[in-house]
C-alpha cells in the first residue's frame, strides 16, 4: 500500500520536473549567457592579442604583420639599446623615464593623497566644497591636463611670463623646454590630476575606521602622530593596495599626457615606453620592435604587480 502510494505520489512530481528544470537551468545559466559576450571580448581582445603581440615580436614584421618566425632579433636590438646611454637611445630614455616617472608619480600621489585626506578628515567646515575641488582634476582627460599644463609651464606664455610681468624678472622656470627636466613636468601634471582621486580613496578608508579604536588609543595616551603612525595608517593597508594598483596602471599606460604636454620633449627626452611602442609600431613601421617593447612593458608590470598582489591578498584571510 505504502509503495503504491509513494509511486502515485512520485509520478506527478516526475511529470512536473522537466518544465521546472528547464526554467531553473535557464535561470542558472542566464548570468553566464549575459556575461558571455564580455567574456569573449576579454578573451580575444586582451589575452588573444597579448599572445598575438608576443608572436609578432619574434617575426620580421615591418609595416604589416608577417607570420614567419625569424627569431628574437627585435629583443636583441632592444637589449643593445638598453645600454646606450651616451647619447641616449630612444629606448634607454624611455625606460629611465619610466623609472623616474613611475616612482615619483606613485610615491607623491600616495603621500599627497594621504596627507590631504588626513587634513580633510579633521571635521573641518566646508569639506563638502573642498573635496570636489581636489577630486575634480580626475574628471579631465589626460589630453586636457596636458594642454593646460603645457601652456601654464611654457616660459613664454604661462607662469614665468606672468611673474615677469608682475616684476619678478629673475624668476626662471623652463623645465618643460629642458631635456634633463622635462620628465619632471610630466610628473607634476600627473600628480595634479591623480592625487585628488587618491585622497578620496584614503578619505573613504579613514571614514571606515572604527571610532572606538581611536578613542581607546587616545585614552591610552597616544599622541596624534602616534595615532596615525601606529593605528590609522596600518589600518589603511587595503586602501594602499588599491591606490597602488590604480596608480601603477595609470603610470604604465601614460601616453597621451606625454604627447599633449611635451609632444615628446626636446630630442625625444620625455618618451615613456608606451610612446616608444606607438612610435615604432605605427610611425616607423617596425612592428616587431614595437611588439617586443610592448612585451617588455607587460613583463615589467607583471613582475611588479603579481608579487605585490600575491603577498597582500594571501595575508588577509589568515
Amino acid at each position: 500500500m505504502t509503495t503504491v502510494a509513494t509511486q502515485i505520489k512520485l509520478t506527478p512530481e516526475h511529470n512536473a520536473r522537466p518544465g521546472a528544470s528547464v526554467r531553473s537551468h535557464l535561470q542558472d545559466a542566464l548570468p553566464k549567457i549575459v556575461l558571455a559576450p564580455s567574456f569573449a571580448i576579454t578573451i580575444v581582445f586582451v589575452y588573444g592579442f597579448i599572445l598575438w603581440t608576443i608572436y609578432l615580436s619574434f617575426t620580421n614584421s615591418k609595416t604589416f604583420p608577417s607570420y614567419a618566425i625569424t627569431g628574437p632579433r627585435a629583443y636583441q636590438r632592444l637589449w643593445r639599446w638598453t645600454f646606450e646611454s651616451d647619447p641616449p637611445s630612444s629606448w634607454y630614455t624611455s625606460i629611465t623615464n619610466m623609472g623616474i616617472f613611475g616612482f615619483l608619480y606613485i610615491f607623491i600621489c600616495l603621500a599627497l593623497g594621504l596627507f590631504l585626506a588626513i587634513l580633510l578628515d579633521q571635521k573641518i567646515r566646508g569639506e563638502g566644497v573642498l573635496r570636489p575641488i581636489y577630486l575634480y582634476p580626475m574628471a579631465l582627460s589626460f589630453i586636457v591636463t596636458g594642454v593646460a599644463w603645457k601652456w601654464f609651464l611654457d616660459p613664454g606664455l604661462g607662469l614665468e611670463q606672468t611673474l615677469h610681468q608682475w616684476g619678478w624678472t629673475s624668476f626662471h622656470f623652463d623645465w618643460i623646454k629642458n631635456k634633463d627636466f622635462v620628465i619632471y613636468t610630466v610628473v607634476i601634471a600627473g600628480v595634479w590630476q591623480a592625487s585628488g582621486f587618491i585622497m578620496a580613496m584614503f578619505l573613504a578608508g579613514l571614514r571606515g575606521i572604527d571610532g572606538e579604536i581611536m578613542k581607546a588609543a587616545q585614552i591610552d595616551g597616544a599622541t596624534t602622530f602616534q595615532l596615525y603612525r601606529r593605528i590609522v595608517i596600518p589600518l589603511l593597508r587595503p586602501i594602499f593596495l588599491s591606490a597602488f594598483i590604480v596608480l601603477a596602471h595609470l603610470a604604465i599606460k601614460s601616453y597621451d599626457l606625454v604627447v599633449a604636454l611635451t609632444s615628446g620633449g626636446p630630442g625625444g627626452s620625455a618618451w615613456l615606453p608606451s610612446n616608444f611602442m606607438y612610435e615604432f609600431t605605427f610611425k616607423r613601421n617596425e612592428m616587431a620592435v614595437g611588439s617586443a617593447s610592448a612585451v617588455i612593458m607587460l613583463m615589467t608590470i607583471t613582475a611588479i604587480i603579481v608579487p605585490y598582489l600575491y603577498s597582500e591578498l594571501r595575508e588577509r584571510p589568515r
Partner: protein
Amino acid sequence: MLRKLLIGTALASGFAFAAHAADVKEVQMLHWWTSGGEAAALNVLKEDLAKEGYAWKDVPVAGGGGDAAMTALKAMVAAGNYPTASQMLGYTVLDYAAAGVMGDLTETALKEGWDKSVPAALQKFSVYDGKWVAAPVNVHSVNWLWINKAVMDKIGGTEPKTFDDFVALLDKAKTAGVIPLALGGQNWQEATMFDSVVLSTGGPEFYKKAFNDLDEEQLKSDTMKKSFDNLAKLVTYVDPNFSGRDWNLATAMVIKGDALVQVMGDWAKGEFNAAKKTPGTDFLCYRFPGTDGSVIYNSDMFGMFNVPDDRKAAQVALATATLSKSFQSAFNVVKGSVPARTDVPDTDFDACGKKGMADLKAANEGGTLFGSLAQGYGAPPAVANAYKDVVSKFVHGQIKTSDEAVTELVKAIEDAK
C-alpha cells in the same frame, strides 16, 4: 560552466558584422585635409566629381592627423574594406603596393599622358612595378626661406646667396633686437631645416648620395660634419623658448614681425595667405641660400586601392579629376604647393608659386629634384625617423659634437635599414 560560456560566446558572435557594401557612385576618401584652406581646396575636387555624378564620402578619422589616418587605413586594409583612395605619403604607397592591395591606373595614366607630365622623381612613388598606383596631388618643396619684409627693410638686409651671407643676415637681425630665426623645436622641423643645410653645404650630388642613396661614405664624410656644424650655427640664432613649438606658431612669429625668417616648406605660405599677406610686399620667399636650382620635394598622393570592379569607374573619375590641369591649378594656389604636373599654366599663382613652378620644371629637367629625407621621400620611415632622432638630439644637446653626430647618424641609419 565553461561549456555554457563558450556556447553563449558562439551565440553572441553570431551577430557578425555584415560587410558594408559601398555605393558604386560614391568616392570613399581617407584624408586629413581638414583645416580651412585645405578643405576649401578639396571642395574644388568634390564639385568636379559631382558634375560627373559621383558623390564624395569622407572616411572619418578619429584624431584627425596623418598618423591617426594611417592607423585607420591599416585597419581598413587589414579588414579588406578598402577606401576608393587615401591621401598617402612617399614610401607608404610603395609599402601598400608591395602588399598587393593597390589598384592599377595604368590605362588612365597613359590616356591622360601622366608619364610625360609628372616629374620622373615623383613617379618613383606613384608607379610600382610598372603600374600606376597613385595620383600625385601636389609637389611641396622644402628648401625655402620665409622672410618678413618689414623687418628685412628695417635691418637693411638683402637676399642671402650663400650660407655665409645668411649668417651675416641673421647677425644683423640679432643686433637689431629681432629674433633672427623662427624655429619649432620638434624633430621633423629641425630635420626639415637640416635637409636644406646639407644641400647647401654639400651641393646636389652630395645630397643625393647621402640622403637618397644612403651612401655610408658620404654620411660619415667631413662634408656631413660641416653640415652639422652649420646647423649648430643656425640654432644659435633661435629664441630660447623654441623647443616643442608647432611650425605654424613659428610662421606666425615671422608674420607678426617678431622674427625675421623661417626655414620651412612651402606649406608655410598657406599661413601667410590666411593672414592676408602678399608675397613681395609683406613677405619674401627665397630659396635656402646655396640651394637655388635644386628642389627638395615631398608630395601628397592619392593612393588608389584595388577596389571591386563596380567601384573602379568612380576611382578612375577621381584620378582623372585629381590630375586635371584645372584642379591642379585651383588646389595648389590655395595649398601653397605647386602642381604635380609640369604643364599646368602658372597664371593664377602668386610670385612665390610661379618661382616654385619654374624651379620644379628646371630641377626636373636638370636632375636636381630630390626627395626630402625628413619628409619621408628620401628613405623608408624607419630610416627617416632614425635620422630625425639624430638631428633632434644634436639640436637639443644629447649629442654634443658634430663628430659624434656623424657617427650616430651612420649607426642609426644602418640599424634602421
